[in-house]
Protein backbone atom coordinates (compact mmCIF):
# COMPACT_ATOMS: atom_id res chain seq x y z
CA UNK A 1 0.00 0.00 0.00
CA UNK A 2 1.34 3.46 -0.93
CA UNK A 3 1.17 6.63 1.16
CA UNK A 4 -1.69 8.20 -0.80
CA UNK A 5 -3.67 5.00 -0.69
CA UNK A 6 -3.15 4.83 3.06
CA UNK A 7 -4.37 8.42 3.42
CA UNK A 8 -7.33 7.66 1.16
CA UNK A 9 -8.30 4.67 3.28
CA UNK A 10 -7.72 6.05 6.77
CA UNK A 11 -8.14 9.85 6.61
CA UNK A 12 -11.50 9.81 8.32
CA UNK A 13 -10.15 7.45 10.96
CA UNK A 14 -7.30 9.93 11.61
CA UNK A 15 -9.72 12.80 11.93
CA UNK A 16 -12.55 11.38 14.07
CA UNK A 17 -11.65 7.77 14.97
CA UNK A 18 -14.59 5.35 14.85
CA UNK A 19 -17.14 8.15 15.04
CA UNK A 20 -20.12 8.07 14.28
CA UNK A 21 -20.22 4.26 14.62
CA UNK A 22 -18.07 4.32 17.75
CA UNK A 23 -16.64 6.84 20.21
CA UNK A 24 -15.05 10.04 18.94
CA UNK A 25 -11.31 9.75 18.41
CA UNK A 26 -8.40 10.93 16.31
CA UNK A 27 -7.55 14.58 15.73
CA UNK A 28 -11.00 15.70 16.88
CA UNK A 29 -10.49 14.02 20.25
CA UNK A 30 -7.00 15.49 20.58
CA UNK A 31 -8.38 18.97 19.93
CA UNK A 32 -11.30 18.46 22.30
CA UNK A 33 -9.00 17.18 25.04
CA UNK A 34 -6.51 20.04 24.60
CA UNK A 35 -9.21 22.71 24.46
CA UNK A 36 -11.08 21.45 27.51
CA UNK A 37 -7.78 20.95 29.30
CA UNK A 38 -6.77 24.56 28.67
CA UNK A 39 -10.18 25.99 29.50
CA UNK A 40 -10.26 24.19 32.85
CA UNK A 41 -6.57 24.47 33.74
CA UNK A 42 -6.36 28.23 33.17
CA UNK A 43 -8.86 29.33 35.85
CA UNK A 44 -7.56 26.66 38.23
CA UNK A 45 -3.97 27.75 37.58
CA UNK A 46 -4.95 31.38 38.16
CA UNK A 47 -6.56 30.55 41.50
CA UNK A 48 -3.62 28.37 42.56
CA UNK A 49 -1.13 31.05 41.47
CA UNK A 50 -2.95 33.69 43.51
CA UNK A 51 -3.06 31.30 46.46
CA UNK A 52 0.71 30.77 46.18
CA UNK A 53 1.36 34.44 46.96
CA UNK A 54 -1.66 35.31 49.11
CA UNK A 55 -1.11 36.70 52.60
CA UNK A 56 -3.04 33.83 54.22
CA UNK A 57 -0.76 31.01 55.38
CA UNK A 58 -3.51 28.40 55.77
CA UNK A 59 -4.13 28.66 52.02
CA UNK A 60 -0.61 29.39 50.81
CA UNK A 61 1.13 26.43 52.40
CA UNK A 62 -1.04 23.54 51.14
CA UNK A 63 -1.20 25.02 47.63
CA UNK A 64 2.57 25.50 47.57
CA UNK A 65 2.98 21.86 48.64
CA UNK A 66 0.61 20.72 45.89
CA UNK A 67 2.45 22.71 43.23
CA UNK A 68 5.83 21.36 44.36
CA UNK A 69 4.61 17.75 44.29
CA UNK A 70 3.02 18.01 40.85
CA UNK A 71 5.96 19.88 39.35
CA UNK A 72 8.31 17.23 40.69
CA UNK A 73 6.34 14.42 39.05
CA UNK A 74 6.24 13.25 35.44
CA UNK A 75 2.88 13.65 33.71
CA UNK A 76 2.83 9.90 33.14
CA UNK A 77 2.71 9.39 36.91
CA UNK A 78 -0.21 11.82 37.23
CA UNK A 79 -2.03 9.91 34.47
CA UNK A 80 -1.45 6.63 36.33
CA UNK A 81 -2.69 8.14 39.59
CA UNK A 82 -5.81 9.40 37.89
CA UNK A 83 -6.31 6.05 36.15
CA UNK A 84 -5.73 3.67 39.06
CA UNK A 85 -6.12 5.80 42.18
CA UNK A 86 -9.21 7.84 41.31
CA UNK A 87 -11.57 4.86 40.89
CA UNK A 88 -10.46 3.44 44.26
CA UNK A 89 -11.47 6.73 45.90
CA UNK A 90 -14.69 7.45 44.02
CA UNK A 91 -15.80 3.82 43.86
CA UNK A 92 -16.56 3.75 40.17
CA UNK A 93 -14.42 3.58 37.09
CA UNK A 94 -13.59 6.86 35.41
CA UNK A 95 -13.68 6.91 31.60
CA UNK A 96 -10.41 7.24 29.71
CA UNK A 97 -11.25 10.68 28.44
CA UNK A 98 -12.17 12.04 31.87
CA UNK A 99 -9.10 10.40 33.40
CA UNK A 100 -6.80 12.05 30.90
CA UNK A 101 -8.60 15.36 31.22
CA UNK A 102 -8.30 15.35 35.01
CA UNK A 103 -4.61 14.45 34.81
CA UNK A 104 -3.95 17.22 32.27
CA UNK A 105 -5.83 19.84 34.27
CA UNK A 106 -4.04 18.98 37.52
CA UNK A 107 -0.64 18.87 35.85
CA UNK A 108 -0.98 22.03 33.80
CA UNK A 109 -2.68 24.02 36.56
CA UNK A 110 0.43 23.55 38.70
CA UNK A 111 2.65 24.93 35.94
CA UNK A 112 0.23 27.74 35.12
CA UNK A 113 0.16 28.63 38.82
CA UNK A 114 3.93 29.22 38.72
CA UNK A 115 3.56 31.39 35.60
CA UNK A 116 0.87 33.46 37.31
CA UNK A 117 2.94 33.78 40.48
CA UNK A 118 6.05 34.86 38.60
CA UNK A 119 4.07 37.30 36.44
CA UNK A 120 2.57 39.01 39.47
CA UNK A 121 5.73 39.02 41.56
CA UNK A 122 7.65 40.64 38.70
CA UNK A 123 5.48 43.76 38.98
CA UNK A 124 6.93 46.64 41.03
CA UNK A 125 5.89 46.60 44.70
CA UNK A 126 4.64 50.16 44.34
CA UNK A 127 1.71 49.00 42.21
CA UNK A 128 0.13 47.02 45.05
CA UNK A 129 1.01 49.79 47.52
CA UNK A 130 -0.56 52.50 45.36
CA UNK A 131 -3.74 50.48 44.88
CA UNK A 132 -4.01 49.67 48.59
CA UNK A 133 -3.25 53.28 49.57
CA UNK A 134 -6.30 54.35 47.54
CA UNK A 135 -8.45 52.09 49.70
CA UNK A 136 -8.76 49.10 47.37
CA UNK A 137 -8.90 45.69 49.05
CA UNK A 138 -6.20 43.10 48.36
CA UNK A 139 -8.43 41.25 45.91
CA UNK A 140 -9.66 44.50 44.36
CA UNK A 141 -6.06 45.57 43.79
CA UNK A 142 -5.28 42.21 42.18
CA UNK A 143 -8.28 42.41 39.89
CA UNK A 144 -8.02 46.03 38.74
CA UNK A 145 -4.30 46.76 38.92
CA UNK A 146 -2.03 43.72 39.12
CA UNK A 147 -3.73 41.06 37.00
CA UNK A 148 -4.37 43.28 33.95
CA UNK A 149 -0.66 44.16 33.89
CA UNK A 150 0.58 40.74 34.90
CA UNK A 151 -1.45 38.78 32.35
CA UNK A 152 0.16 40.78 29.59
CA UNK A 153 3.63 39.78 30.78
CA UNK A 154 2.51 36.20 31.31
CA UNK A 155 1.11 35.74 27.81
CA UNK A 156 4.23 34.26 26.15
CA UNK A 157 4.73 31.76 28.99
CA UNK A 158 1.04 30.89 29.01
CA UNK A 159 1.09 30.14 25.29
CA UNK A 160 4.18 28.02 25.79
CA UNK A 161 2.30 26.01 28.40
CA UNK A 162 -0.73 25.73 26.11
CA UNK A 163 1.43 24.30 23.33
CA UNK A 164 2.85 21.85 25.86
CA UNK A 165 -0.71 20.82 26.75
CA UNK A 166 -1.48 19.96 23.14
CA UNK A 167 1.56 17.71 23.01
CA UNK A 168 0.80 16.19 26.39
CA UNK A 169 -2.54 14.84 25.17
CA UNK A 170 -0.51 12.19 23.31
CA UNK A 171 0.08 10.43 26.65
CA UNK A 172 -3.58 9.40 26.46
CA UNK A 173 -2.13 6.61 24.31
CA UNK A 174 -0.87 4.93 27.50
CA UNK A 175 -4.38 4.39 28.86
CA UNK A 176 -5.86 3.45 25.50
CA UNK A 177 -7.52 6.76 24.73
CA UNK A 178 -8.16 6.88 20.96
CA UNK A 179 -6.55 10.31 20.41
CA UNK A 180 -4.48 10.88 17.30
CA UNK A 181 -1.25 9.21 18.49
CA UNK A 182 -3.19 6.09 19.42
CA UNK A 183 -4.92 6.10 16.03
CA UNK A 184 -1.60 6.56 14.22
CA UNK A 185 -0.15 3.57 16.07
CA UNK A 186 -3.18 1.50 15.14
CA UNK A 187 -2.95 2.46 11.49
CA UNK A 188 0.75 1.63 11.62
CA UNK A 189 -0.02 -1.91 12.78
CA UNK A 190 -2.64 -2.29 10.05
CA UNK A 191 -0.38 -0.92 7.28
CA UNK A 192 2.98 -2.01 8.65
CA UNK A 193 4.97 -0.91 5.56
CA UNK A 194 4.73 2.88 6.15
CA UNK A 195 5.93 3.65 9.72
CA UNK A 196 8.11 6.59 8.68
CA UNK A 197 5.37 8.30 6.71
CA UNK A 198 2.70 7.70 9.35
CA UNK A 199 4.77 9.05 12.22
CA UNK A 200 6.00 11.99 10.14
CA UNK A 201 2.37 12.82 9.43
CA UNK A 202 1.60 12.55 13.14
CA UNK A 203 4.52 14.83 13.99
CA UNK A 204 3.47 17.34 11.33
CA UNK A 205 -0.05 17.41 12.78
CA UNK A 206 1.22 18.36 16.26
CA UNK A 207 3.57 20.88 14.73
CA UNK A 208 0.80 22.62 12.79
CA UNK A 209 -1.39 22.83 15.88
CA UNK A 210 1.33 24.21 18.15
CA UNK A 211 2.79 26.53 15.52
CA UNK A 212 -0.66 27.88 14.72
CA UNK A 213 -1.26 28.57 18.39
CA UNK A 214 2.03 30.40 18.87
CA UNK A 215 1.43 32.53 15.76
CA UNK A 216 -2.03 33.41 17.03
CA UNK A 217 -0.58 34.35 20.39
CA UNK A 218 2.12 36.43 18.75
CA UNK A 219 -0.51 38.45 16.90
CA UNK A 220 -2.50 38.89 20.10
CA UNK A 221 0.65 40.08 21.88
CA UNK A 222 1.33 42.65 19.20
CA UNK A 223 -2.24 43.91 19.32
CA UNK A 224 -2.00 44.32 23.09
CA UNK A 225 1.34 46.09 22.78
CA UNK A 226 -0.12 48.47 20.20
CA UNK A 227 -3.09 49.25 22.37
CA UNK A 228 -0.75 50.05 25.22
CA UNK A 229 1.51 52.34 23.25
CA UNK A 230 -0.85 54.32 21.03
CA UNK A 231 -3.30 56.67 22.72
Amino acid sequence: MGFLEMIDTYWLYFLVGQYPDGPLGGLALTLLLATLGLLLALPLGLVLGLARICPWRWLRWPVTGFVFVVRGTPLLMVVFWAYFFLPSVTGHKTGQFSTMLIALVIFDAAYLAEIVRAGLQALPRGQMEAARALGLSYLGALRSVLLPQGLRHMLPSLVNQFAATIKETSLGYIIGLAEISFIATQVNTLVFTLPTQIYLLLGATYFVLCFGLTRLAYRLERRLAQRLHTP
Binding site: P124, G126, Q127, E129, A130, A131, R132, A133, L134, G135, L136, S137, G140, S144, V145, P148, Q149, R152, L228, H229, P231
Partner: protein, 242 residues
Protein backbone atom coordinates in the same frame (compact mmCIF):
# COMPACT_ATOMS: atom_id res chain seq x y z
CA UNK B 1 -5.79 64.80 63.02
CA UNK B 2 -2.85 62.47 63.54
CA UNK B 3 -1.62 61.34 66.94
CA UNK B 4 1.53 59.25 67.34
CA UNK B 5 1.64 57.65 70.78
CA UNK B 6 5.00 56.12 71.75
CA UNK B 7 5.43 54.60 68.31
CA UNK B 8 8.41 52.32 67.72
CA UNK B 9 9.39 50.19 64.79
CA UNK B 10 12.26 47.81 64.20
CA UNK B 11 13.72 46.41 60.98
CA UNK B 12 15.33 43.33 62.51
CA UNK B 13 17.76 44.62 65.12
CA UNK B 14 17.69 48.16 63.73
CA UNK B 15 15.23 50.53 65.34
CA UNK B 16 13.79 52.72 62.58
CA UNK B 17 11.36 54.67 64.76
CA UNK B 18 12.15 55.40 68.39
CA UNK B 19 9.29 56.22 70.70
CA UNK B 20 7.64 58.84 68.47
CA UNK B 21 5.12 60.88 70.44
CA UNK B 22 3.75 63.74 68.36
CA UNK B 23 0.52 65.21 67.06
CA UNK B 24 -0.47 66.86 63.81
CA UNK B 25 -3.44 69.23 63.98
CA UNK B 26 -6.26 69.25 61.44
CA UNK B 27 -5.45 71.66 58.62
CA UNK B 28 -1.80 71.75 59.54
CA UNK B 29 0.84 71.71 56.79
CA UNK B 30 3.75 69.77 58.17
CA UNK B 31 7.11 69.21 56.51
CA UNK B 32 9.26 66.37 57.78
CA UNK B 33 12.93 66.62 56.90
CA UNK B 34 16.17 64.98 57.89
CA UNK B 35 19.09 63.07 56.45
CA UNK B 36 18.41 59.86 54.52
CA UNK B 37 17.94 56.90 56.80
CA UNK B 38 16.50 59.13 59.50
CA UNK B 39 13.15 57.28 59.46
CA UNK B 40 11.05 60.03 57.87
CA UNK B 41 9.75 57.89 55.00
CA UNK B 42 9.08 55.02 57.38
CA UNK B 43 7.18 57.41 59.63
CA UNK B 44 4.91 58.73 56.89
CA UNK B 45 4.26 55.20 55.63
CA UNK B 46 3.02 54.13 59.07
CA UNK B 47 0.26 56.75 58.93
CA UNK B 48 -1.78 54.71 56.43
CA UNK B 49 -0.23 51.39 57.48
CA UNK B 50 1.88 50.78 54.40
CA UNK B 51 4.36 49.96 57.18
CA UNK B 52 3.36 48.20 60.39
CA UNK B 53 4.55 49.36 63.79
CA UNK B 54 5.88 47.25 66.64
CA UNK B 55 4.86 49.36 69.63
CA UNK B 56 2.60 52.29 70.38
CA UNK B 57 -0.45 53.60 68.61
CA UNK B 58 -1.26 55.90 65.70
CA UNK B 59 -4.64 57.56 65.55
CA UNK B 60 -5.97 59.32 62.50
CA UNK B 61 -9.15 61.31 63.06
CA UNK B 62 -9.53 59.44 66.33
CA UNK B 63 -9.30 55.97 64.86
CA UNK B 64 -6.53 53.53 65.71
CA UNK B 65 -4.87 52.78 62.35
CA UNK B 66 -2.90 49.76 63.48
CA UNK B 67 -5.62 48.01 65.47
CA UNK B 68 -6.71 44.74 63.82
CA UNK B 69 -10.37 45.76 64.09
CA UNK B 70 -9.97 48.89 62.00
CA UNK B 71 -11.58 48.95 58.57
CA UNK B 72 -8.29 49.78 56.92
CA UNK B 73 -9.64 50.16 53.37
CA UNK B 74 -12.26 52.70 54.42
CA UNK B 75 -9.66 54.65 56.41
CA UNK B 76 -7.12 54.61 53.59
CA UNK B 77 -9.72 55.88 51.14
CA UNK B 78 -9.79 59.10 53.18
CA UNK B 79 -5.99 59.47 53.16
CA UNK B 80 -4.27 60.48 49.94
CA UNK B 81 -0.75 59.16 49.46
CA UNK B 82 1.75 60.44 46.88
CA UNK B 83 4.81 58.25 46.28
CA UNK B 84 8.35 59.16 45.38
CA UNK B 85 8.14 56.86 42.34
CA UNK B 86 4.65 58.09 41.31
CA UNK B 87 3.37 54.49 40.98
CA UNK B 88 0.78 55.34 38.37
CA UNK B 89 -0.99 52.33 36.92
CA UNK B 90 0.77 51.97 33.54
CA UNK B 91 -2.08 50.12 31.80
CA UNK B 92 -4.58 52.93 32.49
CA UNK B 93 -4.82 56.43 31.06
CA UNK B 94 -4.32 59.48 33.27
CA UNK B 95 -8.09 59.83 33.58
CA UNK B 96 -8.61 56.15 34.35
CA UNK B 97 -5.90 56.33 37.02
CA UNK B 98 -8.02 58.97 38.72
CA UNK B 99 -11.38 57.21 38.31
CA UNK B 100 -10.29 53.70 39.30
CA UNK B 101 -10.67 54.00 43.07
CA UNK B 102 -13.92 56.06 43.09
CA UNK B 103 -15.43 53.58 40.64
CA UNK B 104 -14.15 50.40 42.34
CA UNK B 105 -15.20 51.57 45.78
CA UNK B 106 -18.62 52.59 44.55
CA UNK B 107 -18.15 56.22 45.53
CA UNK B 108 -19.28 57.69 42.22
CA UNK B 109 -21.06 56.79 39.02
CA UNK B 110 -18.95 56.51 35.90
CA UNK B 111 -20.03 59.96 34.73
CA UNK B 112 -19.45 61.62 38.11
CA UNK B 113 -16.06 59.99 38.56
CA UNK B 114 -15.02 61.01 35.06
CA UNK B 115 -16.18 64.56 35.54
CA UNK B 116 -14.42 64.96 38.86
CA UNK B 117 -11.24 63.32 37.55
CA UNK B 118 -11.19 65.70 34.63
CA UNK B 119 -11.63 68.67 36.97
CA UNK B 120 -8.72 67.39 39.09
CA UNK B 121 -6.52 66.87 36.05
CA UNK B 122 -7.40 70.40 35.02
CA UNK B 123 -6.38 71.62 38.43
CA UNK B 124 -2.92 70.04 38.05
CA UNK B 125 -2.76 71.49 34.53
CA UNK B 126 -3.13 68.21 32.67
CA UNK B 127 -6.71 68.08 31.39
CA UNK B 128 -5.31 67.89 27.86
CA UNK B 129 -3.42 64.70 28.82
CA UNK B 130 -6.48 62.88 30.18
CA UNK B 131 -6.25 60.12 27.57
CA UNK B 132 -2.48 59.72 27.71
CA UNK B 133 -0.89 56.65 29.23
CA UNK B 134 1.72 57.20 31.97
CA UNK B 135 4.47 56.09 29.57
CA UNK B 136 3.62 59.09 27.38
CA UNK B 137 4.04 61.59 30.23
CA UNK B 138 7.15 63.20 31.67
CA UNK B 139 8.09 62.50 35.27
CA UNK B 140 6.67 65.80 36.45
CA UNK B 141 3.42 65.18 34.59
CA UNK B 142 3.19 61.67 36.04
CA UNK B 143 3.59 63.00 39.55
CA UNK B 144 0.91 65.63 38.93
CA UNK B 145 -1.46 62.89 37.73
CA UNK B 146 -0.56 60.90 40.85
CA UNK B 147 -1.55 63.91 42.97
CA UNK B 148 -4.85 64.18 41.09
CA UNK B 149 -5.38 60.46 41.68
CA UNK B 150 -4.79 60.90 45.40
CA UNK B 151 -7.32 63.76 45.45
CA UNK B 152 -9.96 61.76 43.58
CA UNK B 153 -11.12 60.07 46.78
CA UNK B 154 -11.62 63.53 48.34
CA UNK B 155 -9.28 62.85 51.25
CA UNK B 156 -9.03 65.08 54.29
CA UNK B 157 -5.38 64.14 54.78
CA UNK B 158 -2.66 64.12 52.13
CA UNK B 159 0.68 62.39 52.61
CA UNK B 160 3.66 63.11 50.35
CA UNK B 161 6.66 60.80 50.52
CA UNK B 162 9.54 62.69 48.85
CA UNK B 163 7.33 63.65 45.89
CA UNK B 164 10.09 65.48 43.97
CA UNK B 165 13.12 63.29 44.74
CA UNK B 166 12.76 61.10 41.65
CA UNK B 167 12.30 64.05 39.28
CA UNK B 168 14.71 65.81 36.96
CA UNK B 169 15.51 69.26 38.38
CA UNK B 170 13.53 71.15 35.75
CA UNK B 171 10.36 69.26 36.67
CA UNK B 172 10.50 69.86 40.40
CA UNK B 173 8.96 73.31 40.06
CA UNK B 174 5.73 72.23 38.38
CA UNK B 175 5.04 69.61 41.08
CA UNK B 176 5.81 72.05 43.89
CA UNK B 177 3.48 74.59 42.27
CA UNK B 178 0.63 72.07 42.44
CA UNK B 179 1.45 71.30 46.07
CA UNK B 180 1.52 74.99 46.95
CA UNK B 181 -1.88 75.38 45.34
CA UNK B 182 -3.24 72.46 47.41
CA UNK B 183 -1.80 73.93 50.58
CA UNK B 184 -4.28 76.79 50.27
CA UNK B 185 -7.21 74.34 50.46
CA UNK B 186 -7.18 73.65 54.18
CA UNK B 187 -6.29 69.97 53.73
CA UNK B 188 -4.03 68.46 56.33
CA UNK B 189 -0.71 67.83 54.58
CA UNK B 190 2.28 65.86 55.76
CA UNK B 191 5.18 66.15 53.40
CA UNK B 192 8.52 64.39 53.58
CA UNK B 193 10.80 66.45 51.40
CA UNK B 194 14.23 67.90 50.88
CA UNK B 195 12.75 71.04 49.27
CA UNK B 196 13.63 73.59 51.90
CA UNK B 197 12.21 76.46 49.86
CA UNK B 198 8.82 74.73 49.87
CA UNK B 199 9.08 74.10 53.60
CA UNK B 200 9.88 77.75 54.33
CA UNK B 201 7.07 79.03 52.13
CA UNK B 202 4.24 76.60 52.77
CA UNK B 203 4.73 74.72 56.03
CA UNK B 204 3.13 75.67 59.32
CA UNK B 205 5.63 73.51 61.09
CA UNK B 206 8.81 71.57 60.39
CA UNK B 207 9.93 68.37 62.08
CA UNK B 208 13.55 67.44 61.91
CA UNK B 209 14.24 63.71 62.24
CA UNK B 210 17.41 61.77 62.75
CA UNK B 211 18.03 58.14 63.73
CA UNK B 212 14.32 57.43 64.14
CA UNK B 213 13.61 60.34 66.49
CA UNK B 214 11.92 63.69 65.99
CA UNK B 215 14.71 65.93 67.30
CA UNK B 216 13.17 69.28 66.58
CA UNK B 217 9.73 70.70 65.90
CA UNK B 218 9.53 74.37 65.05
CA UNK B 219 7.98 76.95 62.79
CA UNK B 220 9.87 77.21 59.47
CA UNK B 221 11.17 80.64 60.52
CA UNK B 222 12.62 79.34 63.77
CA UNK B 223 13.90 76.14 62.20
CA UNK B 224 15.82 77.83 59.42
CA UNK B 225 17.02 80.87 61.43
CA UNK B 226 17.59 79.37 64.86
CA UNK B 227 17.88 75.57 64.77
CA UNK B 228 18.27 74.32 68.33
CA UNK B 229 19.53 70.76 68.03
CA UNK B 230 23.17 70.30 66.99
CA UNK B 231 22.15 67.65 64.39
CA UNK B 232 19.66 70.08 62.86
CA UNK B 233 22.31 72.82 62.73
CA UNK B 234 24.71 70.42 61.05
CA UNK B 235 22.02 69.24 58.59
CA UNK B 236 21.10 72.79 57.59
CA UNK B 237 24.75 73.76 57.22
CA UNK B 238 25.26 70.79 54.92
CA UNK B 239 22.32 71.48 52.61
CA UNK B 240 23.29 75.17 52.44
CA UNK B 241 26.76 74.22 51.37
CA UNK B 242 25.38 71.97 48.60
Amino acid sequence: MIAFEQVSKWFGAYQALVDIHETVAAGERLVVCGPSGSGKSTLIRTINRLEGIDAGRIRVAGRDIHSPGTDLNALRAGIGFVFQQFNLFPHLTALQNCTLAPRQLGRASKAEAGERALALLDRVGLAHKADALPSELSGGQQQRVAIARALAMQPSLLLFDEPTSALDPEMVGEVLAVMRDLARDGLTMVCVTHEMGFAREVADRVWFMDAGRVLERASPGDFFQRPQHPRAQQFLAEIRRA
